[in-house]
């Protein structure tokens, strides 16, 4: 369902008080050719806070297409919130180009203020206006409409987020989850070009989080809004997104569908962010990797080729490994150090001879005792991904 209203015509073209692409070209300022128009398009963006040595984000490239739901996944301090604030217009970029709906809105010489960008923003702490009721919060961005028109728009948006009947409540009278819904309604009411979500679930408890995640996914799909979400929670990113952009330090390391990124991480850092895993050192030898824990068939996800004898890191995912009790004469063995029972599965912690830790998830039946020696294998022909050191 598309939202049944749209802004006045005057608002549809971005009122740029600043320089348009054409004008910038006329001023002979080099602008990278924009090969594809996305709703949000960042090219080589750098953002540097005054007085700080290193930029918060640099060489940052991201394209979000119409109707897409994209997540930026990264650990805290990686600069993902900065990236979001750059899109919203709260931070000025020091180099590179930010485009929204094809219009240049941010560069070293152009800065369109946030109120002229038509972006819907949902803050981590919701940032609802405490002195206004739910209805007044939702209609805040609709000031260009008459009072009647405004009132007619509040009801459908609140209905969509499941908050009908709360119009006259104040913010402090709502639970965290309800505040979250109102924040989303407020952002969607203005029919924004794109919806930006900053860690939207981090202030909620675990059970509420999963339910609300599904709800928001539905709301966003119904509204047809293009969405950019920022999170440090891999579950959240994997469950909600059409595509995931994994951030390393200050730049995006890999972008792709959740399945692509999970199955073919291009670096050890991405692998660690996208799924629980252990990385153990080994040597690449003609299609296999020789490690302390065993010899495993390999595959390579990066474009560079591996040569025999090269030092590598092997990506060991607990769910892709299996254990067997070691017998006399087995060379590469490990000791069971701990076992955590999880119901159908148990997670085993193994201690290798070099004291490195390795985790294996296997069916809870066939218990292996703590202290026993075991051998490690890959399950069902799965191959171990290796990264050059």
């Amino acid at each position: 369902m598309k939202m049944p209203w749209s802004r006045k015509q005057a608002y549809l073209s971005l009122p740029l008080g600043a320089v348009s692409d054409a004008a910038a070209a006329a001023m002979a300022i080099p602008i990278l050719p924009s090969t594809e128009t996305g709703v949000i398009h960042l090219q080589g963006v750098e953002c540097r806070y005054p007085g700080s040595d290193s930029p918060a984000i640099s060489d940052f490239n991201l394209l979000v297409r119409p109707g897409e739901f994209v997540s930026i996944l990264g650990r805290s301090g990686a600069g993902k919130t900065t990236a979001l604030r750059v899109v919203a217009g709260f931070e000025q970029v020091t180099s590179g180009y930010v485009r929204i709906g094809g219009q240049l809105v941010g560069s070293s010489f152009v800065h369109v203020p946030p109120d002229k960008r038509r972006i819907g923003l949902v803050f981590q702490d919701y940032a609802l206006f405490p002195h206004l009721t739910v209805a007044r919060n939702v209609e805040f961005g609709l000031k260009y409409l008459s009072a009647d028109e405004r009132n007619s728009k509040i009801a459908p948006v609140l209905k969509m987020v499941g908050m009908s009947g709360y119009e006259s409540r104040y913010v402090h009278e709502l639970s965290g989850g309800q505040q979250q819904r109102v924040a989303i309604a407020r952002a969607l009411a203005t029919n924004p070009v794109a919806l930006l979500l900053d860690e939207p679930f981090s202030n909620l408890d675990r059970q509420l989080r999963a339910a609300l995640r599904r709800d928001i996914k539905r709301i966003v799909r119904e509204s047809g809004a293009t969405t950019l979400l920022v999170t440090h929670d891999r579950e959240e990113a994997l469950a909600t997104s059409d595509r995931i952009a994994v951030m390393g330090e200050s730049r995006i390391e890999q972008i792709g569908t959740p399945e692509e990124v999970y199955q073919n991480p291009v670096s050890a850092a991405v692998a660690k962010l996208i799924g629980s895993c252990d990385l153990i050192p080994g040597v690449f030898m003609g299609g296999v990797v020789v490690t302390e824990a065993g010899v495993f068939p390999t595959r390579v996800t990066t474009e560079s080729s591996m040569s025999d004898g090269q030092q590598v890191l092997a990506l060991m995912r607990a769910s892709e490994l299996e254990l067997a009790a070691a017998s006399e004469g087995d060379e590469r063995t490990a000791t069971v150090e701990a076992r955590e029972f999880e119901g159908e599965f148990s997670e085993y912690s193994l201690r290798l001879d070099s004291r490195t830790l390795l985790r294996v998830r296997r069916r809870a039946a066939n218990v292996l005792e703590i202290g026993s020696r075991v051998t490690v294998h890959t399950r069902d022909e799965s191959k171990v991904i290796v990264f050059a050191v």
């Binding site: 806070y49 005054p50 919203a88 217009g89 709260f90 931070e91 000025q92 203020p113 946030p114 109120d115 002229k116 960008r117 038509r118 972006i119 819907g120 923003l121 803050f123 981590q124 702490d125 940032a127 609802l128 206006f129 405490p130 002195h131 805040f140 961005g141 000031k143 260009y144 407020r186 952002a187 203005t190």
Partner: protein
């Protein structure tokens, strides 16, 4: 650095946001206006030519300096000695009537110094009540109240609450685990207080002492009635008696220098941390220490200053009032001065809060070198005695702003310069509690920076604006020297009519007006302090301190 240099650097605020030009312009105008008194005083003194050095080095000036210095040191030491035990006992011990005493021990500061002085003279002068009682016991003559002793007594009674409030705030903020750790390591209670508590309180004591010293430096009514000559009272005398007011101007400049020295000496403890504490969560309350049989003696330690500083003065005023009503004695006319006081104070409150808004918004939301410069220049009123501001504005009015001279607006201007720090402080702490994300949310919904300020920021800081306005209102009601100098001829307020009766020793006539003044100031202060025993203690105590700091 050139002025344009300041602007271009100042604009690079921490978040790359540029303040709206009009906001910047109005803040600049306010900051400039706040600097007028000091700047003009300089101009005027320099015009005095080479003579002014003679004035400064004259022996009588040195003597006045010595007396002022002596009074400041004495009042500060005694105030700290009185206040620290009271703070500790009302926060950490189980003395009887603890809550009542906690509020009552702050209240002496609502009594204006000239009122306190009249009641002190009534009680303890050679012809006073106490002498009358003691005569029956064969004591012929108690020590003379006039001079250093009496001035110290009056000033200590009214200023120890400043130290009390700052120290109490620090005690409440202090993590009880620190003291518990010391106890666990084998320190006794007294040793713990010396080794842990007292060092933690040092910044608070320094901050409170600064307020005491600045107040003592700038007080006029109290020291004048007790016939102790300080810088401020000398300047007033000079101003009132001589035709050439240059001497008063030069002495005022000297007074500013002393105030600046005090501010620097305090070591900038004020404002470091404190304001920016962001955790709102419940502070763990330490167990109150059981004083055993000593708790009644301890309550007396708290009770004696309350008795001398609050109950006796109010009692004396009430006695005068009742006696006056019974004997059909002449009382001061109340209606006109009360109406004038109300009018001037309201006007001062509204103007000052409006002037404080751009400064506070700029300082909190658009931090830059320039916004800090504006805020600093506004805080100059914090260290400026009222007499200095008033004198400078008299010169300014006569020579530059002739239409303002002898109008109520010059008086409002003086109150604004003096009390801007109080309202900026209140607005500032209120603004710090407003989540900046809320303002960003409004902007992302299509509101311009101006609309955000008017539809979000200002409604959300209304509590702070009211608190700041109330403080300015109370301070204006009590203000004396600037009111005396700048009021248009024949314009009487409560404080100036009390003063003129008191300076002619018609103390009893002042009773009704003085009681009214004490009530108007006392009720809100008691309310703020009482509220301080709820969840919001620290904030309200600090707001009181900020308010008093501007005296």
């Amino acid at each position: 650095m050139t002025f344009s240099g300041v602007i271009s650097n100042g604009w690079k605020s921490t978040h790359g946001k540029r303040p709206p030009a009009l906001l910047l312009a109005s803040a600049a105008a306010v900051a400039f206006a706040a600097l007028i008194p000091v700047v003009y005083l300089f101009v005027r003194s320099i015009e005095a030519g080479p003579d002014w050095t003679d004035i400064v080095w004259r022996t009588s000036t040195a003597a006045v300096f010595g007396r002022t210095f002596l009074l400041i040191v004495l009042v500060t030491i005694v105030s700290v000695t009185v206040a620290v035990p009271i703070a500790w006992l009302t926060v950490k011990s189980n003395i009887p009537l603890r809550k009542v005493l906690a509020v009552a021990s702050v209240l002496p500061l609502v009594i204006p110094s000239f009122v306190m002085a009249t009641t002190v003279i009534e009680m303890y002068s050679p012809k006073g009540v106490v002498q009358g009682w003691l005569a029956g016991l064969g004591v012929d003559r108690i020590p003379d109240i006039y001079g250093l002793g009496g001035a110290t007594l009056v000033l200590v009674l009214m200023t120890y609450p400043y130290v009390l409030l700052t120290v109490r705030g620090a005690l409440r903020r202090m993590d009880p685990a620190l003291e518990e750790a010391a106890r666990a390591m084998g320190y006794g209670p007294i040793h713990t207080f010396r080794a842990v508590t007292l060092p933690m309180l040092r910044p608070a004591i320094a901050g409170g002492s600064l307020l005491v010293a600045l107040y003592t430096l700038s007080d006029f009514g109290g020291v004048a009635l007790l016939r102790y000559q300080t810088f401020t009272s000398t300047i007033m005398t000079q101003y009132e008696s001589s035709i050439d007011r240059t001497l008063a101007a030069v002495l005022s400049l000297f007074l500013v220098a002393v105030a600046v020295l005090l501010l620097v000496g305090e070591g900038f403890t004020r404002g470091r941390g404190g304001y920016h504490r962001s955790t709102v969560g419940a502070v763990r309350v330490s167990r109150r220490i059981d004083m055993g049989h000593w708790r009644w003696a301890a309550a007396a330690v708290v009770g004696v200053p309350v008795l001398i500083g609050l109950i006796v003065p109010v009692g004396v005023l009430a006695y005068w009032l009742v006696r006056g009503l019974l004997n059909d004695q002449e009382l001061l006319p109340l209606l006109i001065p009360a109406r004038n006081s109300l009018y001037v104070s309201l006007l001062a409150a509204v103007t000052t809060v409006l002037a404080a808004l751009p400064i506070a918004i700029l300082a909190v939301r658009f931090r830059s070198r320039l916004s800090r410069l504006f805020e600093r220049s506004v805080y100059i009123g914090f260290g400026l005695p009222g007499v200095v501001v008033a004198l400078s504005l008299v010169f300014f009015g006569i020579n530059v702003a002739r239409p303002l001279y002898q109008s109520i607006w010059l008086l409002i201007f003086a109150y604004g310069v003096l009390f801007l720090p109080a309202s900026v402080g209140a607005l500032r702490s209120s603004l710090l509690q407003v989540n900046p994300r809320v303002e960003e949310a409004a902007q992302s919904l299509g509101s311009s920076q101006w609309r955000v300020i008017f539809s979000i920021t200002i409604p959300l800081v209304m509590p702070g604006a009211f608190a700041g306005g109330a403080m300015v209102f109370l301070l204006t009601m009590k203000e004396l020297p600037a009111t005396l100098i700048l009021s248009p001829i024949g314009y009487r307020t409560l404080s100036s009519s009390i003063w003129s009766a008191a300076s002619e020793a018609f103390f009893a006539k002042t009773a009704a007006a003085a009681l009214l003044l004490v009530l108007v100031a006392g009720v809100p202060t008691a309310y703020l302090t009482l509220r301080g025993h709820g969840d919001n203690s620290e904030a309200s105590d600090r707001s009181l301190v900020i308010k008093k700091g501007a005296l």
